[in-house]
């Protein structure tokens, strides 16, 4: 790998992963805030108004960081991946432009109303929350349509000069790959937001602060989180994995660590891929499970890495394998914790179970790690292709941006985002410390 290609890849991977820490909470929280504001509007209850205002403050903070870290991604298609932009702009330019026109404007125009909400009636605040919910989910839809096309190109034709052009907009927007990807991604976003809400609730309850708010946070977060984390595993996670084995079998073999083609392939829960011997060290394996999950047949044949030429293997097998196992493992642990919390809530015991509240509080980072690992699975597994089967990553870079420039900006982004991360954590901590039910809820509503 030439060093410019390496820096280009690292820069995109880093800026995209860092960026996605914010919109996953934005999208999940937009959904839950709409629910909370609807409740506040229908019941005309000051309690729900305070709960909504508290989460709106966190939403706005998070949204701001999401916006400023999101802009570099669109720019980088052109700055660092010029040959890819030239090759595929006729297709993915469509979905990116739709995101700008249909989603970004909507979100940014109505965010101002939530920020300056003291000037507006509850009905208007509810309406702005609805628009932000719609806008952020539309944004997710168009971005995932872009990614789905890179994973599974459809609705295109190759022009005389070798570039690709879209030949059906509806085909592009209803890419079969997109269905499971969107469902899986959005349920995961709801899990993130639910876990954060529940964790803040657990923190307040354990600290003996804002008890009534804390209980509402916990109820909302645990119920939504338990449902969403179950959906995240089945059917959406399962659906995604199945389409990987159908359309990108080499990716599936790589993330499962299946080096050789087998009938009745097992599922590795634990183990380290050894590239010297092409085996898994320290395996803990469920026999026949992989064959069953993919083909509903305990003895079905699953293609291993040996069935594919070496130059089509993803180029970082161990990282891909770990990313997938971290995603699946943490997802399962999260579903278990939230399921247990839901069970306890159902029986009226959750608010007194100190150890479980501790567990809920400390599991707040898990969904972030799981979603980052999930994206690493999807994107590392797509290698060595930038557009699956059509354009290799090595052929997508900018021809005249040399490694010195790419390294300079990579270092710049690392430093800048370190500062951003510190600022965000500091301000988030401050908002949580400040607590719900103060300043803004005491201010008079002018409308």
């Amino acid at each position: 790998m030439t060093s410019a290609l390496l820096y280009d890849r690292l820069q995109f991977a880093f800026t995209a992963t860092f960026h996605y820490l914010f919109p996953q909470l934005t999208m999940g929280l937009a959904f839950l805030l709409f629910y909370l504001r609807s409740r506040a509007l229908v019941t005309d209850d000051e309690h729900y108004q305070q709960v909504s205002d508290f989460w709106t403050r966190i939403f706005a903070l998070n949204f701001g960081f999401g916006v400023v870290t999101g802009i570099p991604l669109e720019f980088q298609f052109g700055t660092n991946w010029a040959r890819f932009s030239n090759f595929a702009g006729g297709v993915i330019g469509q979905t990116l432009a739709m995101e700008g026109v249909f989603a970004f404007f909507l979100e940014s125009s109505f965010l101002g109303i939530l920020l300056f909400r003291k000037r507006f009636s509850r009905r208007m605040q509810w309406f702005a929350a609805l628009i932000l919910f719609v806008g952020s989910w539309l944004s997710g839809y168009f971005i995932l349509a872009t990614n789905a096309w890179m994973q599974h190109p459809v609705a295109y034709q190759v022009g005389d000069d070798g570039r690709v052009f879209v030949n059906s907009l509806t085909g592009l927007l209803t890419n079969p790959w997109l269905f499971w990807q969107f469902a899986h991604n959005m349920t995961a976003a709801v899990v993130t937001a639910s876990c954060v809400i529940a964790a803040v609730g657990a923190y307040y309850l354990l600290s003996g602060l804002y008890l009534s708010h804390a209980k509402t946070f916990l109820r909302t977060g645990v119920v939504a989180g338990a449902i969403a984390s179950a959906l995240m595993i089945f059917p959406t996670g399962h659906g995604n994995a199945k389409q990987v084995f159908e359309h990108q079998p080499v990716k599936g073999a790589a993330f499962e660590g299946l080096f050789t083609t087998e009938r009745g392939a097992g599922l590795y829960l634990v183990g380290q891929p050894n590239l010297e011997t092409m085996t898994i060290d320290n395996p803990i394996e469920i026999p026949n499970a992989l064959s069953f999950l993919v083909y509903k047949d305990l003895y079905a044949k699953v293609k291993g890495l040996d069935a594919f030429p070496r130059d089509e293997w993803p180029d970082n097998l161990p990282l891909l394998y770990y990313a997938y196992h971290i995603m699946a493992g943490l997802g399962t642990i999260l579903a278990a914790i939230l399921g247990l919390a839901l069970f306890s809530l159902w029986h009226g015991r959750l608010f007194n179970m100190k150890w479980l509240l501790w567990l809920v509080m400390l599991s707040a980072p898990f969904p972030y790690i799981a979603t980052s690992a999930g994206w690493m699975t999807a994107e590392l597994g797509r290698q060595p292709w930038l557009v699956y089967g059509l354009l290799r990553t090595a052929h997508g870079t900018s021809p005249l941006v040399h490694s010195g420039n790419a390294l300079f900006t990579l270092i710049g982004f690392l430093g800048l985002y370190l500062l951003l991360g510190l600022l965000f954590v500091f301000l988030l901590g401050k908002t949580i410390q400040h607590g719900p039910g103060s300043i803004s809820s005491q201010a008079p509503y002018t409308a």
């Binding site: 298609f77 052109g78 660092n80 030239n86 432009a97 970004f104 920020l115």
Partner: protein, 345 residues
């Protein structure tokens, strides 16, 4: 269809410069008009709910350029690599400054973000002006349709130019002065009392500076890019556009002096729109002019995607554009009138 999208992209960029331009201008004149914390909060509240949506015009214009002219997007964005990454970093700081200033009640925190807001606004206005200068002057495109320009070479607009040369620096400074004038006009519309007086006197100074800079720039353009003059010579009626632009600047200065705040702001908006329209008329059909060999230039025809993409795109874009204009006007109307200093979020 290729021409239609050229108009769309330039229109979106022009809307971006007019709308985000006033909040950049507010950022630049900010230290000169505020004295107290209440002043600062009033000024920030005047753009607080609006700047983010204004900035989206840039993002959306970039995305439309991407899908309509992938080749030009690829060439331009990779060729201006350093300048664009710098723009990204500045946009990040500026966005953070506006969002985070009110979050902590400490004088150093507020001073730091005030400085970041002004510095980033100033540098961004300069870079956008210099970028326009680069488009007019041209870039050293190679046979594959790519180029790379460093920040500077010998500061001459020759065949191997840098991003900065005397011409692009002049355009950067002109843009700074015009947007400062435009922003001060906006503030005059949105403030009262002592703050209003300072906004008006700043606008008056910046208005005269921008008139001077504009004259210099308009004189310099035909020497740097003769093809621009050829386009106008071929269609003399098009001279109406830059001349009405100059007229709009004059009337904006006149209205400024008569304290007609809203009319002065609308005139400076019209001035910016008409000057950008003149550049568009002059440049057409070129998107990126080559300084090495004219035959290597990227035009709206050789850089465009195929006709299905352009036609199908127009259907959804038309609907989306009208929707955006409708609800953005609605949100502007919600925040019309003069903000109070306790309006901050």
């Amino acid at each position: 269809m290729e021409t239609l999208w050229f108009i769309v992209v330039t229109l979106m960029l022009a809307i971006f410069i007019v709308l985000d331009g006033f909040d950049f201008g507010v950022g630049m004149v900010y230290p000169f008009v505020v004295r107290t914390e209440a002043d600062r909060r009033t000024v920030l509240a005047s753009i607080g709910p609006l700047w983010n949506a204004n900035e989206v015009w840039l993002i959306a214009a970039g995305a439309v350029l991407f899908f309509a002219y992938p080749k030009a997007y690829a060439a331009g964005f990779s060729g201006f690599y350093l300048a664009l990454i710098l723009v990204l970093w500045l946009l990040i700081f500026r966005g953070l400054a506006l969002e985070l200033r009110s979050q902590v009640d400490h004088v150093l925190w507020k001073q730091a973000w005030d400085t970041a807001f002004t510095t980033a606004s100033l540098l961004l206005a300069f870079v956008f002006g210099a970028a326009l200068g680069n488009l007019i002057r041209g870039v050293p495109l190679n046979r594959d349709g790519y180029f790379f320009v460093p920040f500077w070479t010998d500061f001459q607009p020759g065949p191997e130019p840098g991003i900065l040369d005397w011409f692009t620096v002049l355009l950067g400074l002109t843009t700074v002065s015009i947007l400062a004038f435009h922003g001060a006009n906006y503030l005059a519309m949105k403030t009262e009392g002592a703050l209003y007086k300072r906004a008006v006197s700043t606008a008056w100074v910046m208005g005269r500076v921008s008139a001077g800079c504009t004259v210099l720039t308009v004189t310099a353009v035909p020497f740097v890019q003769p093809s621009l003059r050829l386009n106008f010579a071929g269609h003399p009626m098009e001279y109406l556009v830059p001349f009405s632009g100059i007229f709009a600047l004059g009337s904006s200065l006149y209205l400024r002096q008569r304290q007609r705040d809203t009319a002065a702001f609308l005139s400076s908006s019209a001035f910016i729109l008409l000057m950008l329209a003149s550049v568009m008329f002059g440049m057409y059909p070129y998107i990126l002019v080559s300084t090495t060999d004219p035959a290597l230039s990227l035009t709206v025809f050789n850089a465009a995607t195929d006709s299905y993409g352009l036609t199908a795109g127009f259907a959804w874009f038309g609907v989306g554009f009208l929707l955006v204009v409708a609800y953005q006007s609605y949100v502007y109307s919600l925040f019309s009138g003069k903000p109070r200093s306790d309006d901050a979020h």
